[in-house]
Assembly symmetry: C2
Homo-oligomer: 322 residues x 2
């Protein structure tokens, strides 16, 4: 059906190598042959088949994005930013959601090894042995996946410290920490660390609910928060899913915010900002995405890259603090 480079070459009366050179606008090519070739291309409505190119170049110009889910505002926005950056660099995005299942992640790794993509961004919850990542161009957000895997993250410690200090300043006496514990070495752990440090500094008691729960089980943590830490008047939450659930729970319980409880949450990437009014530490996803793509492409090209890239969060005052 569609024409091949061979037909174009015949029609233009040149060799296929010449057509290829015109296509990739190689510098040393005469204007006249360029014209001849372009004419033939137009006439035949020729579009180069990318499979041939990929095989001969041993590159796919595809970046795999491995995320737990896509229908979540944080990841949706991340993917949006990533696509924009990848596009600018001439790469396509292969979307792979792990659905919170490790088998799916392994499946994606297999696809990487198949060279379906040149590299991958892992935003994952699971443990993978470093062996599995060998020779693959991989970048991670927040989690430390292995010594050769660059990490892009926010300055979790500083931002969290700021948030907790803020709650103290605003008069909270019993401040709780609510989070889902990552089951890997992760920059996210610094959120709790910062909370602890600030509490100690002010000689305030610790009220921590921080467990590794499965997706959909976040409500258990909220149950525990209310059972074990009754009477908290401030809470620092590690992520927007939890924050939203807590927000709703407080509403259901008739607790008012900021009057009864003040709340600050990490992750400001809510879908509809005009409805949510939670005070948040917003991650600059646009900058982070750009960095991820840059690191990934550099790794693909065999360059040395920074092991850790930290970005600052933006503190967004909402209606859940005074």
């Amino acid at each position: 059906m569609s024409a091949t480079i061979k037909e174009v070459a015949e029609k233009a009366g040149v060799g296929i190598g010449t057509v290829s050179r015109v296509l990739n606008n190689s510098p040393q090519i005469s204007e006249t042959t360029k014209k001849k070739v372009n004419k033939a291309i137009k006439e035949l409505n020729y579009v180069p088949n990318i499979a041939g190119k990929r095989l001969s170049q041993k590159k796919s110009y595809v970046l795999a994005i491995v995320i737990p889910v896509i229908d979540h505002p944080f990841f949706a926005r991340l993917v949006s930013c990533l696509e924009k950056e990848a596009d600018l660099r001439g790469y396509s995005l292969l979307l792979a959601t792990s659905q919170h299942r490790i088998e799916k992640e392994n499946d994606i790794l297999r696809r990487l090894k198949q060279h379906e993509a040149d590299g991958a961004l892992f935003v994952t919850h699971y443990e993978h042995s470093e062996e599995e990542f060998k020779d693959l161009a991989i970048v991670s957000i927040d989690r430390h996946l292995g010594k050769d895997i660059p990490v892009v993250t926010t300055d979790n410690y500083e931002a969290s410290k700021l948030a907790v200090e803020y709650l103290v300043e605003k008069g909270c006496k019993k401040i709780a920490y609510l989070g889902t514990k990552p089951n890997q070495v992760s920059e996210v752990s610094l959120r709790e660390k910062a909370y602890e440090d600030v509490m100690k500094k002010y000689n305030l008691p610790l009220n921590i609910v921080n467990k590794n729960v499965g997706h959909g089980e976040e409500n258990k943590l909220i149950d525990e928060l209310f059972e074990s830490h009754k009477g908290f008047d401030g809470v620092f939450v590690s992520g927007c899913t939890l924050a939203t659930l807590l927000y709703n729970r407080m509403k259901a319980l008739g607790l008012k915010t900021p009057e009864d409880v003040q709340m600050v949450s990490y992750d400001g990437e809510f879908a509809l900002d005009d409805i949510h009014h939670i005070t948040t530490l917003e991650q600059p996803l646009d900058l982070m995405a750009k960095k991820c793509v840059e690191l990934l492409i550099n790794k693909i090209d065999g360059k040395e890259v920074d092991a850790l890239s930290k970005f600052n969060c933006r503190f967004i005052k909402g209606e859940t603090t005074k």
Copy 2:
């Protein structure tokens, strides 16, 4: 770096064709050679390179998804469903967001012609000539892109009729229609049609704001609604973006719902259902996605497919109606 089929063949002492047959578990292959080959595969840690396969088979096993944006709950959920279905059928997803720009859509078409994907789902706002879609396996949601492009949609007329009838029943006297007019032949137009028919049936006046506005300009429509149709006590909205904006506007204006104004919206795919409480006609995205993938793969395989597939909406009673 990674082993090739040739090395596997050598190690196993067979021809590469045999390795290929084992890989694709071709039926006529003896147990003994199968074992030999699998042993070699394991030892070499061999994973077949998909570029070779794609070139020789002239298939990519990739489906392109062309949507305006990904960071919107409706599209995010759609993509989520699509990926699940594609995965079940052995296809990967190439994500392509048009960013509300026709140049980007043309770019995506070019990539399709390059055989980067075997087919594409277009959820688009723009006009494309049928010529552009020639010989491509394309399926559309809601819009009629050409006579050979199957459309997957909901029963817009029936659902809308139900919604408007519902508002009448609940006592609304001045019911408005608020929508963004598609600039193509689209099933979405039936939403307004149904509204008009119901209004006529009950001898009620028409209050229509339905224009084709660019992304981000939806607020203009809401301005117009309040300027030109003062005092409406019921409104049927064509989509959740508009509905959310209207919801917030009413809140800002001190209008209460359902007391002052009752509202029903098409599209129930809000991100955080526990926060939004708009009465909606929810589209069964899971079923629609399944249908899209099925149609697409059938088209790719050269089969005949239905030109139009309609699904029923689910009416979800929220707090914006009595």
